[in-house]
Structures are given as structure tokens and as C-alpha cells.
């Protein structure tokens, strides 16, 4: 008797547990599983994309980017470059912050000046440090000039990720409060953030661009990729970011899941020292390494087809990208010949350093490169380590040969080159991430010449020239591939979503289909 009651209870319990998962709610909420949790609600507190993409839903910049990477008006309705140092913006009128405060030019001034504080505020120090002054033009509070301390040709290119904060509520609250409760002008208002669990946002019905189509958005961080995929397949979430290569087939086999991909902005490439005496100082050796690498094989075997060969560091929307640059062909025989000609008929030994927790299949790519180079006689010692150790080594500029990935947040190859390949010169802010102290006076000159050109078209031409010389003549780096950005949708939710080049989830552009 007692036993039967227990069994009935257990049966009921199981039935309730099962049924609860079937009962759904009316669909006014989009649930997005992101791969990394947001770090802070302070929009200047982190320049990581996992944070910026959330901030882009709550805050506005002076400008914004659409799903193709084009620069569009946001809190500024139009802009122009007055001279090498001055940028003029016409501000949008009648915009309100989520707490009811009016948006004015003082908020812009306050937000940009806030970028200069080293800690505990800003991860945009370099950008903030270049701003000298923000002032209204001729007493008109809706037209402002932003003056930089030195020519910053990519200044406006970065304004989609510099978010404008409310001066009054930011000044009166502690840094802890600002980091937990954001007040912006953006399409979504903050509701609740339970760290590690979810961040809930609600549509801003008074948004200057019109109310967004979806009423509520919930961002849930799920760092473990197989769990993220399981959450999608079981319908717990509507949209996930980053489907790892090895789980692709599992998602495809599910009738409820649909995969969306696009080439990522990030290119993966190899940096190589060229200091005198080092084999890499001979451009024939650089070419030989380039031609000994079978990128098609890496894409097919290591990336399982989910990458796109690249011939240069920047991606198509970036200023300075040149479509005419082609990859050197894969030709191990020619590579051997070049090595012999350069005085290395028996090859040489070289250490390849790289991270194992930063890029898709990063460690495996390095292993594949090592195997391929061995075939032409170059013996590669692998030195693979966590990114927390790898990146400080990049900062020391002492590596010989390293694997790294890059995309430029401001869509500008000039800025990338300044950081990655210009001769290391900390005083002038050059070569901060030049891991192997690559140095070439011709390329340095080309870059420096481009930065004083005010006309954007002429400057783009100069950067394309720099790119061509670097990639075709000097083999400044050995390009491998662009990664692939992957998303998966839960089909029954019928989410209308177009992936962006920056990989951000911008919810005002997402809707539920009929």
C-alpha cells in the first residue's frame, strides 16, 4: 500500500517535471545565449566585444554601424572633418536618456573626457587620450567640434563603440552602481542583471529610431559550447552565438535548428621576425614559409571547412583592404628551392609560439603549420600556451614566429599597422603588439605619410598601397584565413536575424517572423 502511494507520487513528480518544459509563454521575449558573460554595465569599462555588443543595445554612440559595417548617424545626425585635428558633428535633438534626462552636448563632452581616466573606468585610454577638446560651435549647443591632440584619421570610424553616458546620473553614482545599472539612450532599457545567469532588457518605446520590434531580450551567457548547443536544440534559447566547428553536424542534424554563417572580421596569420642574421630577414625565406603552407588543407582538415583563405590582415569593410592582393600559391618544391637559394638547403629550426585558448582551433593550426613546414626542411618547435601568458610575450616583442588573430575595431588598416607591424617605438605609440619586432623602413614611411592625409579617399588609396607593398613585396606577415562567425537559430521561434561583420547581437535589428 505504502509502496504504491510512493510510486504514484514519483510518477506525478516526473510527469510535472516533463510537462513544465512543454508549456511555453506567448512569444514577446528573445532569449540569446552568448559565449562570454558581459563584464560590466559601464560602457567604457571594457573594450571586449562580449561587452560592447550588450552596450550597443542599451547605449548609443554618436555614430553606429549597420549590418554591413557601414557607418551611419546615431546621436549625431551628420559629421565632417574640418581640418587634420577637428571633427564637426551635428547632434540629434529631442533624445532622452532612460531616466528621463535630456541628451545634450555636455553629455558628449563628459563621456569623451571620461575615456581618459586610467582606472577604474576606461579601456579606451588610447582613444580618450587623443581628445583635446569638445566645444560647441558659435554658441550652438547642437553643433560641436571635437579637437584631437594629433591627427587621428580613423577618429569617426571608432565612434560606433564609444557610447554616450548621462552626465548627471554618472557623476552622482559610485563606480560600483554605474557598473551594475546602465542608463543610456539606446533601443533597450536595462531591467535586471543576475551575474552569471542572465541580463534582461526591455524595449525603449521612446527610442529616437522608433520602438524595437521585440519587447524583451534576455542575454544568457553559456560558456561551455556543447551546453550552448544543447540549450538551442532543446528550445531553451532562440539564438546562439558561436557554434564550434566540431558541433556543427550535431546542430545540422536537428530538425529544430538552423545554422547561419558569415566570414568573420578576424584574420589568422603568422608573424615572423626579420632582424638581421635571423632567417626571416631574407624575403626568400619568408616566401618559402608562405608557399610551404597548404592553407586549403588547414581549412579542410583543421577548420573542417569553416574558414576562408585570406591574403592580407584586414577584411573587406576595413579601410585599406585591397581585393587585388592574392595568396602566393602552395608550392613546396618552389619553397625548397627558395630556401636553398637563401642559403638554407637543409632548412633551419624555428620556434612557433601561439595561444591555445584564443582562436578557433588555434593550437591545431600551429601543429598543422609545423607538420607542413617540416616537409620543406624547416623544423618547428611548438611553444603553445594560454593566452594569458602568450599576449604579454607579444608585448615584449621578443618572439621569432607566432600565430595571432586580428581585426580592427575601428575598421582601419592604418591603425592596425601602427599597432602590429610598425617598428617598435613606445614613445610614439608604434608597434605595441609587434610580437617579433618586425621592422621595415619603407613600410613605416608609407604608414606615417598616410596619417596626415585629410581626404578620406586619398588616405584609403595610401593605405591600400601600404597593404600591397607589405603583403606582396615584403611578406610582412604570412596570412592564413578568416575565421567564420557562426550562429544557430531555434527554427520554431522564427527569428529574423542577419549576422553583422562585428559579430554583435544588435536586437533592434532582430524580429520574430509571422
Amino acid at each position: 500500500m505504502k509502496g504504491r502511494v510512493a510510486w504514484i507520487l514519483i510518477g506525478l513528480f516526473v510527469a510535472i517535471l516533463g510537462s513544465a518544459s512543454i508549456l511555453g509563454m506567448a512569444k514577446d521575449t528573445l532569449v540569446v545565449a552568448v559565449m562570454a558573460p558581459p563584464r560590466t554595465m559601464n560602457p567604457h569599462g571594457s573594450d571586449a566585444d562580449c561587452n560592447l555588443q550588450i552596450m550597443a543595445n542599451i547605449f548609443d554612440g554618436l555614430l553606429q554601424r549597420d549590418a554591413d559595417g557601414n557607418l551611419l548617424p546615431a546621436l549625431a545626425t551628420s559629421w565632417e572633418r574640418v581640418d587634420a585635428l577637428t571633427w564637426r558633428f551635428h547632434l540629434r535633438q529631442g533624445v532622452k536618456f532612460h531616466n528621463g534626462n535630456d541628451f545634450t552636448w555636455e553629455d558628449v563632452k563628459f563621456s569623451l573626457e571620461r575615456l581618459k581616466e586610467p582606472y577604474p573606468v576606461s579601456e579606451f585610454l588610447a582613444f580618450g587620450g587623443a581628445i583635446a577638446e569638445v566645444r560647441p560651435v558659435d554658441g550652438d549647443p547642437w553643433t560641436i567640434d571635437i579637437v584631437t591632440t594629433k591627427p587621428v584619421p580613423w577618429f569617426v570610424q571608432n565612434l560606433h563603440q564609444i557610447f554616450i553616458m548621462d552626465k548627471e546620473s554618472t557623476e552622482t553614482r559610485s563606480i560600483g552602481e554605474i557598473g551594475e545599472y546602465p542608463i543610456g539612450t539606446g533601443p533597450y532599457k536595462f531591467v535586471e542583471w543576475v551575474k552569471g545567469s542572465y541580463l534582461k532588457l526591455e524595449a525603449n518605446e521612446d527610442y529616437w529610431g522608433g520602438p524595437p520590434p521585440i519587447k524583451y531580450v534576455v542575454f544568457k551567457p553559456i560558456t561551455e559550447s556543447s551546453t550552448r548547443v544543447a540549450a538551442l536544440i532543446s528550445g531553451e534559447v532562440d539564438l546562439i552565438q558561436d557554434v564550434p566547428v566540431e558541433l556543427f553536424d550535431m546542430v545540422k542534424s536537428s530538425p529544430n535548428a538552423e545554422i547561419i554563417t558569415r566570414p568573420s572580421r578576424r584574420s589568422i596569420w603568422l608573424g615572423l621576425r626579420n632582424s638581421p642574421g635571423f632567417p626571416g630577414s631574407d624575403v626568400r625565406v619568408r616566401k618559402a614559409i608562405y608557399m610551404a603552407i597548404n592553407e586549403d588543407e588547414i581549412i579542410e582538415k583543421v577548420m573542417m571547412g569553416h574558414a576562408f583563405p585570406c591574403s592580407q590582415i584586414p577584411d573587406p569593410p576595413t579601410v585599406g583592404y585591397d581585393a587585388s592582393i592574392e595568396r602566393l600559391p602552395y608550392d613546396p618544391e618552389e619553397a625548397k628551392r627558395l630556401l636553398a637559394e637563401a642559403g638554407y638547403p637543409d632548412g633551419f629550426t624555428i620556434k612557433l609560439t601561439g595561444p591555445n585558448d584564443r582562436y578557433v582551433q588555434d593550437e591545431q593550426i600551429a601543429q598543422a603549420v609545423a607538420t607542413q613546414l617540416a616537409k620543406v626542411g624547416i623544423r618547428v618547435e611548438l611553444d603553445i600556451k594560454p593566452k594569458a601568458i602568450f599576449f604579454p610575450e607579444i608585448d615584449q616583442h621578443g618572439l621569432d614566429f607566432y600565430l595571432i588573430g586580428w581585426f580592427d575595431g575601428s575598421y582601419d588598416f592604418g591603425r592596425s599597422f601602427t599597432k602590429l607591424l610598425h617598428t617598435v617605438d613606445p614613445e610614439r605609440g608604434y608597434g605595441g603588439l609587434n610580437g617579433a619586432s618586425y621592422s621595415d623602413p619603407v613600410l613605416d614611411k608609407l604608414l606615417e605619410a598616410s596619417s596626415s592625409i585629410v581626404d578620406p579617399t586619398l588616405r584609403a588609396d595610401a593605405l591600400r598601397l601600404l597593404n600591397r607593398v607589405a603583403m606582396q613585396e615584403k611578406i610582412a606577415v604570412i596570412p592564413l584565413h578568416y575565421q567564420e562567425d557562426t550562429y544557430a537559430l531555434y527554427k520554431p521561434s522564427n527569428v529574423q536575424f542577419q549576422p553583422r561583420p562585428d559579430g554583435w547581437i544588435v536586437c533592434k535589428d532582430i524580429s520574430f517572423g509571422e
Binding site: S21, R39, P118, K195, A230, A231, P386, R415, P426
Partner: protein, 336 residues
Amino acid sequence: MCGGALKAPPCLISMISYIIRRIGQSVVVLFVVSFLCFGIFQFLGDPVLTLAGRYATQEQQELVRRTLGLDKPFYVQYAIFIRNALRGNFGLSYTSQVPVMRMILERFPASLELALVAMFIALTLGITLGVVSSLRPRSPLSRAIMAGSLLGISLPTFLVGILLILIFSVWLRVLPPFGRGEVMRIVGRWRSGLLTLDGLRHLILPAITLGLYQLAVLLRLTRGGMLEALAEDYTRTAWAKGLPQRAVIFKHALRNVLIPVVTMAGLQMGELIGFSIVTESIFQWPGMGNLLLTAIYESDHPVIVAYVMFVAGLILFINLAVDILYGILNPKIRYD
């Protein structure tokens, strides 16, 4: 018995002095732990690189380093940390700029609940199955249980977690694969998932994953103890007296076996709270382990050191509590 009427009984005095000594030792352990933590930071990533932003110049990086006091030598940094920690101030997180102890206490309820449920499952199932398999050690059922317990000990946690998600969330679709589900706010930032159906559903898979190893250990401990106890003279006497089976097994045999089992469970409790990192990461459980993992990923040193201190303190406390309770349960124990 112990001493006269006016003086405290010597056994109580010896117990108090024992506790004081243990607390003293604990403080030393905490110092050593924090020192080791700081030592390891020297070899972890440099937080300044991310804090100054991807495009910062070296000069700006140095500015951030100075502002954070990270330019000072190791021992000075450590002394400053100890001075602040003694006042209960463990500093601000580098990435979120929120007091780290608040962040940890915010995550603690989730970890505690998960550990409690895991321990509950491990204790009830472990003891039950242990008793069952000890009664007829050679029966197929007992052999199956023992084989299962071997799996429980040897299967790595992440594999168990992923298999459970695959079976119950993806194939059968009866349980959710991640998160805490609906929680109720108890007081302040303390939220509980134990009071809602949705919260309970979310607890099942991670609790089983976390508790499986402990379950297997407790099962084997119970079974071993029971086999011994069932062969003892007093049990045979009980059988011979014609006592009902239930009384013999539970009152005579199991009661004696339980003391080491409960001690073991108590000691494991601290580990369940502190070392649930793998389980929390697979199930995206918003507990302390998950926080630690993110902090390591982001080189957020204040969070790491506060976490390690918190968990070390917790384990020391639980061990002390278990030792004291053990003495109360078993008066033969001497605190020397």
C-alpha cells in the same frame, strides 16, 4: 566524571583549548594560502594589458599599473593586501569594479544549494545502495551496483555532465540543460531555486553530476562497513534473538556504520562547494566556481584571491565543525 562543581570540567577545557589551537592553525593556513596565491599571480597574465585597452600605448599601460599599485614590488603588494583584508576589504574586481566579496557572496547561495542537493542525493542513494548491495553481495543486483559505483568514481565530471545533458535535455527533452531557472529572492541578494518547480528541475542534472563521485565513495564505504558489521557477533546475536530483519539491519548494523560515513560526507561538503568548477561551467550554473573561471580567464586577480581565501576558510571551518561533532557523537575521541 569531569572535575568539581565550581571548575569547568577538564574535558570541556581541553575541547576549548583544542578549538582555539585549531583556529590558530587555520589563520596560519589562510596566510600561507593567500601568500601562495599572490606568488602565482606573478606568473599569471598581466591584468594591465586588458585594463588599458587593446590600443593603449606603453605609457598609458604604465599609468594604469601605477594607479592599481601593480608597479610596487611583490611583498609590498602583499602587505597592502593583508592590511586591507584584515579590515574585511578585499578590493574591487578589475573588470567589473564591484567589491569582490560582494560578488562572491552573491554567487555563494547557488553553489551552496547545488552542493547541498548533490550531497543529499549522494547520501540517500549512497547509503541505500550500499546497504542493498551488502545484504546479498554476490547477487546480480549487487554486482551491478558495484560496477556502477566504479563508473561513478572513474568517469570524469565533464563527461557525466555532457552525457546527462545529451540524454535528458536533447533526446528526452525532460530537463533543462543549463542555468538555475526561476529563483525566489529570500533576502537581499540571496536567491533560492529550491522553492520553485522550475528551480528544482534545473537542479537535478547538475546535482547528479556533482554528487556522482561522492555517491560512489559513500556507497563503497557503507557497503564495506555493512559487510563487516553483519559478520559481527552482536549482529548474529540479533538474528539469533529472532529480531525482525529491518531492526537488525538498520538498528544494529547500519547505525554503527553511519559514523564514518557521515564524517566522510561532512568532509566532502566543503569540496562540493569549493570545487564544483567543472560542473558549474558545464551547466552554466551561476555559482562561485563559474565566477572563478571567468576571473581566471580575465586575469581578475582580486576575485581569484578572494575566492581562494573564501573557500579555504570554508573548508577549514567545515573540517573543524566535523571534528567537534565527531567528538560529540563518539565520546571516546580525545582532543589532544
